[in-house]
């Protein structure tokens, strides 16, 4: 919504011109209406929400963030509440329930019709981040004996309550999934044609217990608008739509970003999280890394005499361990991201190893030469220049091997490769590069 348009709406609100405000709001998409309501003064939100027509209201409601939903649910009458939540799609409904406190959940569930309540209870039992937890129960299923005309009739009847009408699923008498058909095919055929002659049997489907990340990969691979979800008996129980898959992709990327920067992933947006929650997600990792870093400290303690015997040696230490850490985290980031979007697979580890080896030789020798010349130009001794440069070559070699392979090993051990990211790699490489430095210092300088 443009700033001018918002000002205009805010003016109507100030003038309490409900009729025109309603008319003007109707010109916008539901997502924009929700955004507008979220940004006005809290005491006025319910009033504005109430002027919306009923069918629009529940669509707008689905776009609100959890805090706003809770705030409004608390203020609504029971009748209003039932009207709003009855119109929500099952998956949006379940998402909402999972974020509400128990007393509100009770109030919301009280007046829901028993059939819907059963479906919802079943949904609540699917594990978090499973296909079952993100699917919707509103889809169009048809029988293969139906004609195109009968199918169109069915779409007209149930289509409006279905989250997606673009793909139709064919099931047998025991609700087992047999095939699919796109609305495109229906539209180009005569009303008398039988579905069985049109349907595609190579249907790509997921199980309710599949990981949501795998579902997102299916969407990515095939470009579908929806993917059907079946139970263990291959009975069709729901459909994941592409917009939910997009949410999953974004969520999973964000999780990777957080893990890779040594934080416990959180589903709550940063600005909505309390300082204490954020601190908690960061503290544990910092402690772990701090303890790991003390290994480096004890190596320095042990070899302090070697490192301080020649003036100037210790000054290069931050540059060496810094470069090692950076080189290692470049490799681990590429491999973690590659594994996560499926560009790299477990079986590719020899190719990754060879590539990282080649890259580290080029980069290592290049940096070492650059560094050698730099030290000489700035008046350093040739011996120190040689020591530092040799250390750099071996540090980068080890950093890139460790960075390239640890994420693959993590995947192999069924851990999240994102754990093997910059912070951990850096700590490991710190120690190794320090040892290499101590060795070269004692070989060349002492």
């Amino acid at each position: 919504m443009e700033k001018d348009n918002r000002e205009f709406l805010l003016n109507l609100l100030k003038e309490k011109n409900a009729k025109q405000l309603r008319e003007e709001l109707m010109k916008y998409n539901e997502a924009d209406i929700a955004e507008f309501i979220e940004e006005i003064d809290e005491v006025q939100t319910l009033a504005v929400f109430r002027i919306l027509p009923k069918d629009i209201a529940s669509e707008v409601f689905a776009y609100f963030d959890p805090d706003m939903k809770l705030y409004l649910l608390n203020l609504m009458t029971n009748v209003e509440l039932t009207e709003i939540v009855d119109d929500l799609y099952i998956d949006d409904f379940v998402d909402m329930l999972e974020e509400l406190p128990a007393n509100i959940v009770k109030r919301v569930m009280k007046d829901i019709n028993p059939e819907k309540r059963n479906i919802i209870n079943q949904y609540l039992q699917y594990p978090e981040e499973s296909a079952g937890s993100i699917m919707t129960a509103e889809f169009i299923d048809i029988k293969k004996s139906m004609t195109v005309g009968q199918t169109l009739e069915r779409i007209r009847k149930v289509g409006m309550k279905s989250e997606t009408v673009y793909t139709l699923y064919i099931t047998d008498e025991s609700r087992k999934l047999e095939g699919y058909l796109s609305i495109r095919t229906i539209l180009k055929n005569d009303e008398s044609v039988v579905v069985e002659t049109l349907m595609e049997e190579d249907v790509i489907y997921a199980n309710t217990f599949d990981d949501q990340e795998d579902i997102a990969k299916l969407f990515k691979k095939y470009g579908f608008l929806a993917i059907p979800v079946v139970d263990n008996e291959k009975r069709l129980v729901g459909v994941v739509t592409f917009d939910d898959a997009v949410d999953v992709m974004q969520e999973e990327s964000t999780e990777d970003f957080e893990l890779m920067a040594a934080m416990t992933p959180s589903e709550k947006p940063y600005l909505k999280s309390s300082v204490l929650e954020i601190a908690k997600n960061r503290f544990v990792w910092l402690i772990i890394l701090l303890l790991t870093a003390t290994i480096t400290g004890s190596i320095i303690s042990k070899y302090e005499q070697i490192l301080t015997a020649v003036t100037g040696v210790i000054a290069f230490l931050p540059m060496i361990i810094g470069t090692g850490g950076n080189a290692g985290s470049q490799s681990s980031t590429i491999v973690i991201r590659g594994l996560s979007i499926g560009e790299i697979e477990l079986k590719d580890y020899p190719r990754v190893f060879v590539k990282e080896l080649g890259v580290s030789l080029i980069v290592g020798i290049g940096l070492a030469l650059f560094n050698y010349i730099r030290i000489i130009i700035f008046g350093g001794s040739a011996d120190i220049a040689l020591t530092v440069s040799l250390t750099l070559v071996f540090t980068i070699l080890i950093a890139k091997s460790v960075g390239g392979l640890l994420p693959i090993i993590a995947q192999k051990l069924n851990m999240d490769p994102a754990v093997m990211a910059a912070p951990l790699i850096t700590t490991i490489v710190d120690t190794l590069s320090l040892i290499i430095y101590v060795i070269f210092v004692s070989l060349i300088l002492i």
Copy 2:
């Protein structure tokens, strides 16, 4: 494709049983067929590709990676080539052209019909990463005077050549975009109803020159299947479909991951890039960071006497700068990701600052206490424990402020915030924490 199924297909291939192989392949989705062909022995690929029916062949072709496309195009006859590329959607076609060497492009463009060639030439002029470069020219536009019946007729006529038939766009006589209509609305209405009474006028659209990242955000916000793209006169020229938006989201996330690990982003997948290409993308950043790290080195040189005056002081240095770097990159990662998915906006910077301040006090004091006790338990002196712990508190305070604010400042200066990630933050924080340490060492220990 399951392993057993692949083995079965490979057997048919070995037996040269083309007829059955074709039949079996037809049971799979085009994406799976493409995957199968990419994995067989290169000399057999053209033969297998040739047994596919014509309409399937071009869909499979669109799924191939650039190397495979080039390989096959080189082997195809001119007739085959024209058949295949004629059936590609404009956006897939243009994507392909951009990846092919000039001589092949010439061959491909030679037999294209002039109308299509004009459209393609126009597409090639849109800037990279713009809406124009990812849109498709195949969409269904209707007039508001048409009836539902006439619309269905039009879908039947042009629908099969349209990449998406699920949203229809209404344009006036000068092709200006007036509104949209979902197929769902068409299906539920009588054939005699006029489009004008059904169409939605609050159409969300993009301009050909808009950044693809902004388009992806529109998909995320509204959950649309397609977004129309207009030129500067608001004439409808194309449509971006959700699958292209999903590609953009993934691409942009990958770019952030690469930038945040100090690499020049590359569009080429890791395993397809040469060692030299990879080395180039990493080398420049490592040099820059190495030079920045020398600042730390010169500070150590300057204060080497202070840092080595008391035994044990230098041993804590890696832990202190490591913790500072980790604390800073936690903050910068959260803010960079938040800015990139729109959870944090420029105007939020005071809130970010206050949050990071609060978090750093809790985390800093927590870590300092933990560390104080640890040093005492392991027999360290109380003075050293106090020095190290005080340094930690201030290091984390500064690290989190720098990490939280630099990405916002970068955004403000129209730079990519992802540049202000772990490697750079770490280097800056290294220097600052070292200075803090030197100050406390000279205040308390000397």
